[in-house]
């Protein structure tokens, strides 16, 4: 079984997680830029974070044989802090990187005017840089937030097939798929979505344009819930090829639209050549 986790915050995870993920079949991940538990207060802490997403984190992942790509954006929550806003002017530098396969996570947190503006501006950046967009749907007031996200995306002029609406559930999936967008589901220990519910959704809505991720981060979460969902699919009557489609070929298809997805990059071999400050507990 090969697994591509299209949304996971590895910066917050340990090498134990990388080891368990690799052993369970996770071979590729996309790490979207998002908020940390502690709010940031200026653009420079964003750029240091973005540097890690295109520098240190892919290096760490490579040592476990896992390919790492990132998406870059100013997230909706911190879009509300005027001290963070200047980072928008630095985004083009990062959107030009080889390892950046989408603009994201963008979208809504509290559906403020500031979020409206930053969301629209970053959709324009996605078009300008010829990148797909990863849209976070809000946890509070989700149904309305999803409708409003669809409206903003449609207005931007970006091809809906290059947009994924993430953290969907039973009540928001139909709107996303009907709008021609991809539907992302974050499988969490007990909140957003569970493996059992996910399998029901797959039975009802099919596998086309569906992405399944763990969204594992610094909160209570589990980087192996993609694997648990794959097992639940097999138990629920799906074939191995179906599992491969949902948990590998679909995310590859979505992010390959960036033209930058590189699943056999040179970084891997070279990082392992001299290998292993992390594996050996080195410097």
């Amino acid at each position: 079984m090969r697994i591509f986790d299209p949304h996971i915050h590895m910066t917050s995870r340990t090498t134990d997680d990388y080891e368990r993920m690799a052993a369970a079949g996770v071979r590729a991940v996309v790490e979207p830029a998002f908020w940390l538990g502690q709010p940031r207060t200026g653009p420079q802490s964003f750029t240091d974070y973005f540097d890690a997403l295109v520098g240190w984190e892919p290096f760490r992942a490579a040592q476990f044989g896992i390919r790492h790509h990132a998406t870059i954006a100013l997230n909706p929550k911190e879009a509300n802090d005027p001290r963070c806003r200047p980072v928008l002017d630095l985004l083009p530098r990062y959107l030009a990187k080889d390892g950046v396969v989408a603009v994201g996570e963008i979208g809504y947190d509290s559906m403020t005017a500031a979020e409206d503006e930053v969301f629209a501006r970053q959709l324009a950046l996605a078009i300008e840089h010829d990148l797909p967009a990863l849209v976070h749907t809000p946890h509070r007031d989700k149904a309305r937030g999803t409708e409003r996200s669809i409206a903003v995306v449609s207005e931007s002029g970006i091809d809906p097939g290059r947009v994924v609406l993430d953290h969907l559930n039973e009540l928001t999936v139909a709107a996303a798929l009907d709008a021609g967008m991809w539907a992302g589901f974050s499988i969490y220990p007990d909140t957003k979505m569970s493996p059992t519910r996910m399998v029901k959704i797959l039975h009802e809505y099919g596998m086309e344009r569906v992405l399944v991720n763990s969204a594992a981060d610094w909160g209570r979460s589990d980087p192996l819930l993609t694997v648990r969902t794959a097992e639940e699919m097999l138990a629920g009557g799906f074939t191995k090829d179906d599992v491969d489609r949902v948990l590998w070929r679909n995310p590859v298809e979505f992010f390959a639209q960036s033209g930058r997805l590189d699943l056999a990059g040179k970084g891997e071999a070279e990082a392992t050549f001299a290998g292993n400050s992390i594996l050996r507990g080195g410097s």
Binding site: V54, W56, D98, K266, A274, N276, S277
Partner: protein, 204 residues
Amino acid sequence: MTANDDAGTTRRGGAMTDLKTLRAALSDSPWLTEAVTAIEADPKAIGALFPAAGRRCGRGAIAPGWTADEAARAIMLAAAPAEADDLYRYGDADEKRAVLKSLPLLPIGDAAVPLLHDALRTNDTRLVAAALGPYAAHLDPAAWRQAVLKCVFMGIPLDAVDSLHKRADAALAAMLRAFADERAAAGREVPADAQQLLDELMGA
């Protein structure tokens, strides 16, 4: 040696590589030619062109110790050497490495030494190795010895270090000796190349 002895060339495994060789190896890339023209007209244009080198010129080996993307980046950087700091600051790991490898080819004296210090603070073996090319001649002896020892700790082969045998001294020998003693006490092995260097320094 003086600061400019190596300007314009880099060594690796005895082979000399200069910008002319790299340009010749990439002479079939019209994209690169256009990029250099754009950078000569406006040095800031390099900000968006530098990251695209791998996608436009490929990533295969084209000269001893150089991949196509690294060579393309060296050629672009040579057209706007004042941008080295900024490109390194905002570079991903491959871009940072290309900047580090290009430094000895640029007419910049010791101005880029802070970039070496930054790279040597990282835990990325590729950056640490790239910081120890010919441009490391500008590192002061204490920083250079720490960097060599860091290579040993990180498992970076010592042949990545330019002028290793010429520059290794008694102080480095003492550090390697202490390292070997610690490894022996822990029942762990000393990497063969580090042991060989130590033997050479002790025997001399």
